[in-house]
């Protein structure tokens, strides 16, 4: 059974004339790592909001179609019920801090306090999140004294503590340096392995090619492709949608190194392997 089912999703913001999401339909399996790619204004962030119930509960506007998480319609549910199932992390680590907490430990507790979780249970969940995100040493620091990367890890830990089945991340590494990005991707891949469904809008395609199980390509709100990274990044028309495929795909294209299924390799290892096959 699918964890998430999106059926003919359409959405337009109240002050806009055109659709930001135009007839999207796809399914996501439990524990999958889905990458959402597309140029700016493709609708990536809006889709992230729709998957977490912010559209249509927080952002009003014209809404059509369905988003179902565990067969429960997001539109018909309370936003707090949706966010307990699907957590959201977005690009600006600074804005995700509540401003009312003076330590990382308390910051992570914020969502749990709102959900009425008992203190002992809260402590267990916070300790687990701190350990998973490897930020135990930061627990007594003020969130605003942290670097962008550390803040982003606190934001993810705050979402993790809520024990969601799905985590939606909207360009979570856009403010981070390469090392910070690597750390975030590694942690997220670990979460996907543990059975949490990950949906991530991201511009760092090399990283998505390495970690994602499927890629959803959007362009001007329309769904262009939904398939394996190899399948999507091997498309001949991908440049037309403002997407420069990962560097290994470009090298493979230049060297005409396609596999038997007709796809280019998307990682360095894949490229090496394909090169050796080509040699033989």
């Amino acid at each position: 059974m699918s964890k998430i089912r999106v059926e003919g999703l359409k959405y337009r913001y109240p002050d806009m004339d055109s659709l930001v999401l135009d007839d999207l339909s796809f399914e996501v399996e439990k524990g999958a790592f889905i990458g959402i790619v597309g140029e700016n204004t493709a609708g990536k962030s809006t889709l992230c909001y729709a998957l977490t119930g912010l559209v249509p509960h927080f952002f009003k506007g014209a809404y059509g179609g369905n988003v179902l998480i565990d067969n429960i319609d997001v539109k018909q549910s309370e936003i707090s019920d949706v966010t307990s199932k699907a957590g959201l992390v977005f690009d600006q680590p600074f804005s995700q801090m509540t401003g009312s907490k003076t330590t990382v430990y308390e910051e992570i507790a914020f969502g749990l306090e709102n959900s009425g979780v008992e203190r002992e249970e809260m402590r267990i969940r916070i300790d687990n999140s701190l350990r998973l995100m490897d930020i135990e040493h930061l627990q007594n620091k003020n969130p605003y004294d942290l670097s962008g990367g550390q803040m982003q890890r606190v934001a993810i830990a705050s979402v993790l503590a809520m024990k969601p089945d799905v985590i939606v991340l909207d360009e979570p590494t856009s403010q981070l340096d390469p090392q910070g990005s690597d750390e975030v991707f590694q942690v997220i891949a670990k979460l996907a392995e543990s059975g949490i469904t990950i949906i991530m809008a991201e511009h760092k395609l090399e990283k998505l090619a390495e970690y994602a199980s499927k890629i959803l390509l959007l362009h001007k709100g329309k769904q262009i492709a939904y398939g394996s990274p190899k399948e999507v990044f091997s498309r001949d028309d991908i440049l037309e949608y403002g997407i420069a495929p990962p560097v290994y795909v470009r090298i493979a294209k230049a060297l005409k190194l396609k596999n038997k299924a007709g796809f280019y390799p998307i990682t360095l290892d894949g490229l090496k392997q394909q090169w050796n096959v080509g040699d033989e």
């Binding site: 977490t52 966010t83 959201l88 977005f90 804005s95 401003g99 009312s100 507790a109």
Partner: protein
């Protein structure tokens, strides 16, 4: 980057007073300065706020805020000194410009009131953990949303300062002069205001989303991670402040 949070636990006597008493103090102190249009009384009330800031070891934090407000209050001082309707007695003459005693006295009263307002709320904000303030307000029956809005208003000042700092750095790197004489600083200040306000508005929207996805709108019962704090005789402090307020009103009516 300079930290943007306003509260750090200084473990002072003022930190031991409960947030509601400090909030009550801010209101009583501001109310008294408006109840009596008297410079000595306003000075006295301001002095109390300053002493509390000193005891709370946060006086230095409020000084830049007072300096910024004074630059804004300068226009009031000039306008009132020149044009207040009761102006009669010239006090200062600069060429053909005459400043009158009545107008300047009135402007001084306004300045002292604003300073007291900032100092009194400074006592509350700079010596109270934001979370404790929010929790106390919620326990008094205020809705979490209104409590958060109340808190955000005070968080806004240090956050806008931080945003302004970032935008200033960005503009400086593009060649804008931001250091030097007062004139240069004023010229640089106004173009920064637009981006600072827009950026703050955007940040507010993002923060609203962040709160929403962390169950802030949840209608169920909320719990708290912190153990309930014991404060310095909260009922005694609050009663004292209420008695002071009543005494001030009675004095104003009778006196």
């Amino acid at each position: 980057m300079e930290p943007i949070h306003s509260y750090t636990d200084k473990k002072s006597y003022i930190d031991q007073i409960d947030p509601i008493s400090k909030l009550l103090f801010a209101f009583v102190s501001i109310f008294i300065t408006y109840l009596f249009s008297s410079i000595p009384i306003t000075c006295f009330v301001l002095l109390i706020s300053i002493v509390l800031l000193m005891v709370g070891r946060v006086l230095r934090k409020i000084v830049p805020l007072l300096a910024i407000s004074f630059t804004l209050l300068l226009s009031i001082i000039i306008v009132q000194g020149l044009t207040h309707p009761t102006n009669e007695m010239p006090l200062l003459t600069l060429g053909t410009i005459v400043f009158y005693q009545e107008g300047l006295t009135f402007a001084l009263l306004i300045t002292l009131r604003v300073f007291n307002m900032l100092a009194a709320f400074g006592v509350l904000i700079l010596t109270t953990k934001p979370d404790d303030l929010m929790e106390s307000l919620m326990k008094q029956g205020m809705s979490p949303k209104i409590s958060y809005v109340f808190l955000s208003v005070f968080q806004l000042i240090p956050q806008m300062r931080a945003t302004l700092g970032k935008i200033t750095d960005a503009q400086r790197s593009r060649g804008m002069e931001t250091e030097g004489s007062l004139m240069i600083r004023i010229k640089a200040f106004f173009p920064l205001l637009g981006p600072a306000v827009l950026s703050s508005l955007n940040m507010t929207k993002e923060r609203a989303i962040a709160l929403e996805v962390r169950g802030f709108s949840s209608k169920g019962k909320k719990t708290f991670i912190s153990e309930e704090k014991s404060y310095f005789y909260p009922k005694f402090v609050r009663c004292g402040l209420i008695i002071l307020l009543i005494a001030a009103i009675v004095w104003r009516i009778v006196g």
